[in-house]
């Protein structure tokens, strides 16, 4: 399956191609440099941070060491004080020691110390007596432990507080254990307080076993020489000492640091599990590989050495620091990428602009081609059209015209371009046309625009011809142009004229014999030649009335032809409406009587109208005869003339069947009569209403009708009323 290639995917593929092409090296260079810079800066940042951390750690380490040292010193001092008590008092009994230690309130002042005690130095000879004296104090089971024979013994005689764990140490000979012994010996050798190495105290009777240390301060008999080691051994009474459970002690001393650092205290110089005295975090095994960041301090104390290792704990680092580093790296990365794409963009901007230009050019060309083709097609249509098409501007200057126009008018397009349109019309019509345009611009009302009309055109050879012109208006760029479609209707006119003349000729020809027939019949029927027998008279009447019918038909045809040819002449005079109606009724009575209908004048407003009396009579005859024709027997026909506004409406109402709906639109058309299934023959030419409408409109009025099925019909015509001072009496 071939994946569809869309413009987007093509563009995308090209994008990646150019990105990774060798021409894109500046962008890659920029990216590399930027990344390297970021890396370098980050590294530096990291190192600085590291450095800072180290410094902080060292600072804390220093503080920790100082704390430890101070505490040890404090305890040293307290023990010295204890030893001083012995020296001063010579002898201190149990009760005195108890009180003394109690008064020191060590728990309050220096919590973490397991106790404070006195271990007597007991040479072998004095052992029995010593044990006895202690038993005598109330400890019947007291003996120096371990019990093996040795040259010298020591025994823990006092240990306050003498409760709990401390009871286990009562009578213990600390010389019997090597670590303790070396510290004890050291204290005599130096004559100074001595700190022991790591021991497991006897007090580890229950609970978690802690590492322990002891501090010994020798007590000498007062006054005895103590310059040399040997002398000191001679003068030795015992040691004042304190055991320390390291966890207990250090927790009290250092707890404030535990959230920030892990503190490990090692006995001596070595970092080994065996030497671990204290670890603030308990995972001593895991940590002893040494973390990246740590500081080591040595604390010499009382002839011994502790190594303190301080490493960062969770709370050591500011929350912000790693975040800052990450943000920095991210920012650096983003900037690098941006830089990369920017350089790439700049590099290929030219290429892409060019590609875009080419693409756009293609598109434009394609569009141009399309519109060219369209223009060509339109041009071909215009060129082949039979009617002339002319474009003019607002001022009536010809802008363009098609070949048909050239043919119609006989001018070439080049000659006509730039001329006024009036060169194509006879003089007075050109003037009229200008007037049309002026009116249109002034009022916006188009009489010629948008409608077709028949004007006269003038050809190059001066001949005038009739033309049918349809004008429309368009807006281009906000300017008005008019487009006229011109058709030479000379031929059409000729044919029409021929037809009309034919009708006229035929009608005239028909009239002549009719005159004779009608005349002859009229004479006979009128008795001019003598009495006529009734039967003959009947037939004569029949013939005569039909003759009259024919005459009417011909008159109608000729009227229609005159109207169509525009040759109808009206003799417009002012007449009084009542008089007009009066004579109409009289004239039509002979028609109505035989049909048994009665003409009733309801009322007539006394107005004056300007009409051709004969033609008005013709209109009234038309209305009245139609009404009579369609009235049932013994019906009435109601005539009235109402003055409404500046018009008078003359209406003729019959009581006939009304005009059927399907016929109503064709009432005033030529040769139309309602399709009747009525019994009575309707007669008539079918031209009456058409002629009536033309006549009334030519006299400045309108015609119309109202009808309802079964309720009769009212035909009306409206004519303008003349002011009562009478109008002009010129023929229109």
């Amino acid at each position: 399956m071939i994946s569809p290639v869309t413009p987007a995917s093509v563009a995308g593929a090209r994008f990646w191609r150019t990105t990774f092409s060798w021409r894109n090296w500046p962008a890659w260079l920029a990216l590399t440099l930027c990344v390297m810079l970021t890396a370098g800066l980050w590294h530096q940042m990291h190192r600085n941070a590291r450095q800072f951390a180290v410094t902080r750690l060292q600072l804390i380490g220093g503080q920790v060491a100082t704390h430890i040292r101070d505490r040890l010193q404090a305890h040293e001092q307290i023990l010295r004080a204890g030893a001083a008590l012995f020296s001063v008092m010579g002898e201190v009994n149990r009760t005195q020691w108890r009180d003394y230690v109690r008064l020191l309130a060590l728990d309050e002042r220096y919590p973490g110390v397991q106790g404070m005690g006195f271990a007597r130095f007991v040479p072998a000879l004095d052992r029995q007596a010593f044990e006895a004296s202690v038993r005598a104090e109330g400890f019947p089971d007291f003996r120096i432990r371990p019990e093996q024979e040795r040259d010298v013994y020591s025994a823990i005689e006092y240990l306050e507080p003498f409760t709990g764990r401390n009871l286990a140490a009562f009578g213990y000979d600390m010389l019997s254990e090597s670590t303790r012994r070396s510290a004890l010996h050291r204290s005599i050798e130096t004559g100074q307080p001595a700190l022991s190495g790591k021991v497991t105290l006897l007090q580890e009777t229950h609970g978690k076993v802690q590492a322990g240390v002891l501090i010994y301060v020798p007590v000498f008999r007062p006054g005895w020489p103590v310059e040399t080691v040997a002398q000191r051994w001679q003068a030795l009474k015992g040691w004042v000492y304190s055991p320390f459970r390291m966890d207990d002690l250090m927790t009290h001393v250092l707890s404030g640091y535990f959230d920030r650092v892990v503190i490990d205290i090692f006995d001596g110089d070595a970092i080994s599990p065996g030497a671990l005295l204290f670890s603030s975090n308990g995972n001593s095994a895991g940590r002893l590989t040494g973390s990246a960041l740590q500081t080591l301090l040595s604390i010499p104390a009382m002839g011994h050495q502790w190594k303190v290792r301080v490493a960062p704990e969770a709370g050591f680092f500011n929350r912000g620091e790693p975040m800052a580093e990450i943000s920095f790296v991210l920012a650096g990365g983003v900037i690098s990428l941006l830089l990369f794409f920017m350089v790439r963009f700049l590099r290929f901007r030219g290429d892409e602009a060019e590609a875009l230009a080419i693409r756009m050019t293609h598109e434009i060309r394609a569009e141009e081609q399309k519109s060219n083709e369209l223009a060509q097609r339109t041009r071909a249509i215009l060129d082949s059209v039979v009617d002339g098409i002319i474009t003019i501007d607002e001022r009536g200057v010809i802008e363009s015209l098609n070949p048909a126009t050239e043919r119609i008018f006989g001018w070439s397009a080049n000659t006509l371009a730039g001329q006024s349109i009036s060169v194509l019309m006879p003089a007075e019509q050109a003037h009229q046309y200008d007037q049309y345009l002026r009116d249109y611009f002034a009022s916006g009302v188009a009489s010629v625009i948008g409608n077709g009309c028949e004007l006269e055109g003038i050809r190059r050879d001066g001949s005038v011809f009739p033309m049918d012109v349809a004008i429309s208006e368009i807006l281009i760029d906000g300017r008005r142009h008019f487009i006229g479609v011109v058709r030479d209707i000379t031929e059409r006119r000729r044919v029409e004229k021929m037809k009309n003349e034919f009708v006229s000729t035929v009608s005239h020809e028909l009239r002549t014999p009719l005159t004779s027939i009608g005349g002859a019949l009229g004479l006979m029927a009128g008795g001019a030649l003598g009495e006529v027998p009734a039967s003959i008279k009947t037939l004569l009447d029949v013939a005569l009335s039909n003759c009259q019918r024919l005459t009417l038909l011909i008159n109608d045809l000729l009227d229609m032809e005159k109207i169509t040819a525009g040759k109808l002449e009206l003799d417009m005079q002012c007449h009084s409406m009542p008089a007009l109606l009066e004579s109409a009724i009289v004239a039509n009575k002979p028609y109505a009587d035989p049909l048994n209908v009665c003409l009733v004048l309801e009322y007539c407003d006394p107005v004056t109208v300007r009409v051709d009396a004969l033609r008005f009579a013709q209109v009234m005859s038309n209305f009245l005869s139609n009404a009579a024709k369609y009235s049932p027997p013994q019906a009435n026909i109601y005539i009235k003339a109402c003055h409404v506004g500046n018009h008078v409406r003359v209406s003729v109402k019959d009581q006939g069947p009304g005009i059927p709906a399907h016929f109503q639109s064709r009432v005033f058309e030529k040769f139309s009569q309602a399709d009747s299934s009525d019994q009575r023959q309707k007669g008539g030419t079918g031209l009456g209403l058409a002629i009536t409408r033309e006549l009334v409109e030519r006299m400045g009025g309108r015609v119309g009708f109202e009808t309802a099925a079964g309720q009769g019909t009212t035909f009306w015509c409206e004519l303008p009323v003349q002011p009562s001072d009478g109008g002009l009496s010129q023929a229109s």
Binding site: T512, T515, G518, A520, G522, A528
Partner: protein, 128 residues
């Protein structure tokens, strides 16, 4: 006012001539001289001394108006009133005929029973 007695009637169509002659003589009681053409009217009309000339317009060779013109050139007939008979009775047409010198125009087709009255009316309305 003098009475209308003698009418010179000029009409080329024989049938119409026959009808009109009957209408005027029988119905109207006039004394008629009937001519078939304008030419004949010019030749024979003067001798008849008609009171009125009733003449068709559409005639071959010499139309009614042409005949009228000639008549006016003849001293013996110049003063005799002429009434045209024609189908062209539009006002302008009537005015045109009158301008030529006709007294009036009677419409064709005519009602033979009324023709005599029409002629008499025309005679009377123009003072005889």
């Amino acid at each position: 006012m003098a009475e209308l007695q003698k009418i010179l009637y000029v009409e080329d169509e024989p049938d119409i001539r026959a009808v009109a002659q009957l209408a005027l003589e029988m119905v109207g009681g006039f004394t008629l001289k009937v001519c078939e053409s304008g030419m004949q009217a010019l030749q024979e009309g003067e001798a008849f001394h008609p009171d009125l000339v009733l003449m068709d317009v559409m005639m071959p060779e010499m139309t009614g108006p042409m005949t009228l013109e000639r008549m006016r050139a003849m001293p013996g007939m110049a003063q005799i009133p002429v009434v045209f008979m024609t189908a062209k009775v539009q006002p302008a047409e009537v005015a045109q005929f009158k301008a030529l010198g006709a007294l009036d125009v009677i419409a064709k087709p005519f009602d033979p029973m009324q023709l005599a009255n029409q002629v008499r009316k025309v005679w009377e309305s123009h003072g005889g």
